[in-house]
Amino acid sequence: MSERLEAPSDPEHSPEGEPSPEPVAWRHRHLLDVDALSKDELELVMRTADEMRDVLRRPIPRVPALRGRSMTILFYEASTRTRVSFEVAAKNLSADVVNISAATSSITKGESLVDTVRTVEALGADLLVLRHPVAGAPYLAANLFGGSVLNAGDGWHAHPTQALLDLYTMRSRLPGGTVADRKVVILGDVLHSRVARSNIWSLTAAGADLWLCGPPPLLRGFDAWARRGAAAGRRFTVTSSVTEALRDADVVMALRIQRERMTGGLLPSLREYAARYGLTSERLALARPGALVMHPGPMNEGVEIAPDVAAGAQSAITDQVTNGVAIRMAVLHLLAGSGA
């Protein structure tokens, strides 16, 4: 064991070449999207999150893994759960946390993202958690920043920690502990959803039978993605028929109607959306008995999801929040060990 501290090349992949059931090692400096993660790397995140869940169950849920590291949370968009989840995760690992909100920083004086990232680095941050309304902003930050960048949501593009916690929640609640061959439905405003886009990568990579469902204007462009996915052997179906999507589903994830991103009359009205696509108990009855109900939050109850479904026995929505802390601890731990 002492060997391990001195000879990192050792110990589990021993020289005699024993077949190792262990997942691969982590090689990423940043977490920008889940599309960069292989199936084995997803498995490593899941297993590390299991350990973090054990830490969270301790009387004092804190370990010194990231002692002396500094994490800056830089959010250009409103958020409660993601911001707090990252903060709690970092503190559980004994990192120092600095919060910058765009509304109360020099960003209101016109400071550019580039200058802000340089400033954050000069102030000593090792880890930068960035949420930005423009897709790709974390990629720009990653090119400038000397430490690790974690994408906490960029425009419509990606929200990797949400996709990881969704996968983790499904695995921990589904019988058999895997999403492979399970019918997973993402229902709602897919067009504006970075959560959906990241989930498409991770769920199809993990072998799920993925269905996207919503009004045709909110599914625009996803047909082509589904065809490419199918060509690569991934199971991925796009439909506007709620009945077809929900029938025999194992997991139903409702997405928030993103009114703040909605332009150009994509929907006639919220009331009509709720009537035709809202996740009600009647519609949920089409799914398998005990099918999981998920929602990345924040919810518009009565629009994309009925209150009784959101709070019902099949709901895994509070699990998603708890698991979010474990997943973010796992990712922070893996990134901090990546040598950045």
Partner: protein
């Protein structure tokens, strides 16, 4: 690879039995005693010690497993994150005498981390240390209470412990991490 065996399976078995007697003797019994193996090869060793103590004392000591990954002080200096293998301490540490068990004692940093991890779970009455091999080169003021074999080594050498539970065979080898050109090809 220039390697030679420094402990055979029989020697490991005898050392384990001797240490199991030493643990009971030092503690003057088995009351309040528990064994905690450090992941990964300390865990099967702890179970072997518990089995030996069951054999000669007819008591079942609690055995736990400790993963020290989150307590390491060398995160920034290793090439990649080691895999976390899990901590399982199915008993109350408070007031117990804990015997930490590991395969090799080297710099002492693992043991430092293990003690930090243990005290997060409670306040043991005492913590002792049993290792199969002590290879020297301590960087911290730590010593083992029970040692299977003291092996003088150089820092360039690697001590590899193989245990049947993990590696299918028992044995301890010593190897040069980087073969010296002058020695290469001599075997």
């Amino acid at each position: 690879m220039i390697g030679r065996q420094i402990m055979t399976a029989d020697e490991i078995r005898r050392a384990t039995i001797r240490i199991s007697h030493e643990i009971v003797e030092k503690h003057a019994g088995t009351e309040g005693l528990a064994l905690v193996g450090i992941q990964r090869r300390g865990v099967p060793l702890a179970h072997r010690l518990a089995a030996a103590i069951r054999e000669h004392e007819a008591v079942e000591l609690p055995v736990g497993a400790l993963d020290i990954t989150f307590y390491r002080d060398d995160l920034s200096t290793v090439a990649q994150q080691p895999l976390v293998k899990g901590t399982d301490l199915p008993f109350d540490l408070n007031g117990r005498t804990i015997v930490l068990v590991d395969d090799v004692l080297y710099t002492g940093r693992t043991i430092r981390a293990a003690m930090d991890a243990l005290v997060d779970f409670g306040r043991p009455q005492a913590i002792r240390l049993a290792v199969l091999v002590d290879r020297g080169h301590r960087e911290l003021p730590i010593r083992a209470d029970h040692v299977g074999k003291n092996v003088p080594t150089s820092r360039e050498e690697v001590v590899r412990v193989h245990l049947a539970e993990v590696d299918d065979v028992d044995g301890v080898d010593i190897e040069r991490a980087v073969p010296e050109p002058a020695l290469a090809g001599r075997e």
